[in-house]
Symmetry: D2
Subunit: 342 residues, 4 copies
């Protein structure tokens, strides 16, 4: 059994992580911290976990995280970087669901996240936890930077095209739609039900924090710079991301075959048959990414549709998948979930 600590379990990625760990046969959840809610039973905050998680929130000091095998940070940005050095030195592996270790260029990170990085010397060794790209490096990671939700959907959608170099890399478009849980469990006006329901909008067209993360990932795949336009949108559903990706083919290629071959050994990426339109609910509550690839009217424009559950493959599920890899477990352990539909 793996001794697990969770820092900051009061947000949506936190409760989702608890949902998954509660059924994981090798997970021994020993502590969940919350500064503000220490002492409260976890299931008082999240009644869905009644009977499944018996812990109370504890303060970080009481959590004895240094005796864990792995600690998940389901915190806002800027927390994990402050505690990483101490944990790593104590031999504890760290999985950060926030953004602290995602961007290799520290100055770039500091620009987008508006704060000074507390452990810049650890950034270089952190492994970006997209198993479909970095499985081998994840195995031995001490610090795992779990990808963002938008970056997961977009990278998995572009990956076969960009790795193989068959598209014009200077002009990629990612038009992405997210459910509202992607904005987190913070009390804010714009994500109130009466604001977000029966409504649709784009946001952050001028620049979203996930843009440099996606670009970094695509450039690593391409081995060169890429030009990317990324427009995120808020759609009135709880969970789910739908990425609609546009690129121009520079080489005539069977894109369906390209996708099928690239993902044939991937447990959690499902390439749909030609002509398909994946729905976000077809992956709801599961760790799957389903993708479909189109060439409308036989033109040189390729359209990729990529869907994930932002809280699972886009956050907690991918983190558990990475944990499984890091601890040499079956990669799908605890992730054997049939999507909930309708």
């Amino acid at each position: 059994m793996i001794k697990i600590g969770v820092v900051g379990g009061t947000g949506y990625t936190g409760v989702e992580l608890l949902r998954l760990l509660a059924r994981h046969p090798e997970a021994n959840l020993v502590a969940i911290t919350s500064r503000g809610d220490a002492g409260m039973p976890v299931c008082d905050m999240f009644p869905s976990l009644r009977g499944r998680v018996d812990l109370r929130f504890v303060t970080p000091q009481d959590a004895a995280l240094d005796r864990c095998d792995v600690v998940f940070f389901a915190t806002p940005n800027g927390i994990a970087m402050q505690q990483a050095r101490e944990l790593v030195d104590a031999g504890v592996r760290l999985i950060d669901l926030a953004a602290d270790f995602r961007i290799r260029d520290v100055a770039e990170w500091e620009k987008w996240y508006g704060m000074k990085h507390a452990s810049p010397e650890l950034v270089a060794e952190a492994v970006y936890g997209l198993p479909e790209r970095n499985r081998e490096r994840i195995r031995s990671a001490r610090i795992l930077a779990n990808p963002g939700c938008y970056p997961t959907a977009v990278q998995l959608g572009f990956l076969p095209l960009v790795e193989s170099g068959v598209v014009d890399l200077s002009h990629l478009i990612a038009d992405v739609k997210s459910g509202v849980s992607g904005a987190g469990r913070k009390a804010e006006v714009h994500t109130l039900f009466a604001e977000a329901a029966d409504n649709f909008k784009a946001y952050a067209v001028a620049g979203h924090r996930h843009l440099p993360e996606i670009r970094q990932g695509l450039e690593a795949m391409a081995g060169q710079g890429v030009g990317l336009t990324f427009v995120p949108h808020l759609t009135p559903m709880i969970r789910g991301i739908h990425a609609t990706l546009y690129a121009r083919l520079s080489t005539d290629v069977n894109v369906q075959k390209l996708f099928e071959e690239r993902y044939q050994d991937e447990l959690f990426v499902d390439v749909l048959p030609t002509g398909s339109h994946p729905e976000t609910r077809s992956v709801r509550a599961s760790n799957l990414c389903r993708v479909a690839v189109h060439r409308p009217h036989g033109s040189d424009v390729v359209v990729v549709l990529s869907v994930i559950d932002n809280l699972v493959k886009g956050a907690a599920g991918q983190a558990v998948q990475c944990m499984n890899i890091m601890f040499e477990l079956d990669e799908s352990l605890g992730l054997d979930i049939v999507p909930v539909s309708p």
Copy 2:
């Protein structure tokens, strides 16, 4: 392994049953029938099942249901009763998720369901599959009448009060709210998104088919007649039933203790602490019923709040729970699901 057939797997109770059976360690799903869609892979209709259910729909004739151990009917009303005799005679046990065997009074059934009963002689031996009431009889049932969704939520909410005889039985009120999946996967105008979203309405105030089923259940608990007003409502959510139940206490009693004691050994009924308000999402995708009991302002009115997922405890999950009992398995096998929230 139990050899299982499913008749009529193209509705919401059908796909939910498949979701549950796909992960049930003792379930060997051998055939799913659909007259209209025979030949189609199940996962073409339900992409959420891709990779989990490899069967194609077959015609009833091709299904060889008589070689199954148990056959689930996830059909419209009036189908199971036509095939029951043959299956029972072949030694196959039958679990009907529709209403054919729920009402013991055949004339009453025929009045509410508007058709002639095809196997009236089998009605008497059918067992009503509410484990919290009938666990012993379920064990040996050949024909299991799986309760309706409203009846499950209402009966589990009233049960401790009615069994113990502490309320005025002549004037019970059940004000119940259902998600739209309760209306099934039929193409109908009133359940279109643009009709049912951002909208709330009562329906069938003059009389709903679940009324006689609930009344029969309550009268069995009470050992006498009851007066019940039942008003169902449609609420804009996919899954979930919330029953708000009103009764007048005829005896002063600690209702919280009454509920806790009655349900202390029940795996799937969770009595919340005093003062709680269960949410439907706290049971989403799980087989749980969560209940809370109130006496506002210390008056003689007792208010019970009871929530279930209509497709699980209100349909497919309860059917699997009954199957587990019928086949002497651990009652929670395949039902070990942490509710999906948010």
Copy 3:
């Protein structure tokens, strides 16, 4: 033209009031105050008003409210009572959309609202703005206490039964469902989209602030005490209240006729034909209340279904209706809105 000031126009009742006043032919909106957002154009906060409301928010000091004919308070509870004396002395009439002047028993008010009343001497003269009960007194009101949303739906539903004395007044039940905008535009976790969508729950079963208001109204109609159980629920829609009301008839009476006669001269109360089920969307964005009355199975239980738009007849629309009455205008001026459906 009536010179109008609005205090606190940044919540949902505020923006709804602006929507209505923007098209009211006799409304001359001269000032909208907001302490926090002074200086901001109103339509920067509410883009739906672009081109319709050109004002900026001003501080209360800059608003010169004492030169208005009427001032609406679309504020949290406890604000209007502080400014009422000064405005009334300046000859300005006041319409409070909050609760400061709704409860005649000041001690009772202070208990439920948890604060000391700042103008207890004005409470007695305030008129409760339910036109269907108090039209004559509204005409001359200096202080108008605009009813709450739940109280409007419940009182209009019970009114014909309680005024006529045909039901058992000791045991009335109001099971009421509200859209999420009823909770206001405050940033709170429980009304986030990801919390409130696809979910249903009761709340405040032990006691809700609207209970004493409803009881006071019903007792005024009855001329005696009443016993009321009131259970509010949150339903995943933006606008709308659906009240399901239960009472026992003590006299055999034609309830349909009773309702039709009582409301025959009311512009904004629509009694539906026998057997109807009003939907909340049938009144969306309008000032209508639609009601239907049932006697299921011919029993002595009468069930009333009453729907309103909580932001219109339950708040801003009723306030404008009262203003029209107070200023001797056509009662429907500015309220000539066809409900928006779907």
Copy 4:
């Protein structure tokens, strides 16, 4: 007063047209036809219209449409073209909300709509009812082809860029999201609430009927061929279209100024300030189109965000706007609606 007939008033564009005409000061609605529901009061089908529309549906034969000044067809595709000749010959003007007269190339129309055109000789004289392009020709139109919902949002978004020739016309992308009412009021499985809620999907990537209509419009603006990729999506809201449009600038130009100047005299197109993100609810129930234009990171990619209410500016509202133009009325008559938000 204009004598108006409506053919096929039982769908969403029909009921929306009735909502608008009910308050139009020059509209004298004399007949609404429905083959299937003749005899039924309109407000029995649409309770939101109770008290506002007193007509009953009549058969086409009983409607005496030839005595109307104008007849709206709110029918499925293929109906208006059968009755057009007779009406036109009788001097009745015709506004078709369906697609019969939208595509000038009859062969192209027949390919996309899968039927033979019944009045090909009338296609040439039909005027495409986008006032922002064709106001002058609309004035004298005998047959008005009201634009589709997607085409309205996309064309108004691209118009200033394409008319002025500042973008690469060979590679335009329109990623468009529609509320579910766009699919109409037909009973179909995929638009059921339990299918479409909490879900997001693209559809018809291989080709949608609105593609040739949009392309025809853009080519008319450009005076040359254009390359367009159009991907429609279904989003879980009732009303609203959000078009996200991508193009590459071929000339460096102040796009904000370009849009503001082009639309400065348009009543129903609102160009938002730089940096804005229009929400669909900001136009809900109104005839407005709000657009914003971005150049992310100062690149050569221009992103246009364009929102409309699909049932108003995308259907019934635009039809009324065209009627106003055709009958020399104030263009905004009957369309003076403040958007309903929240």
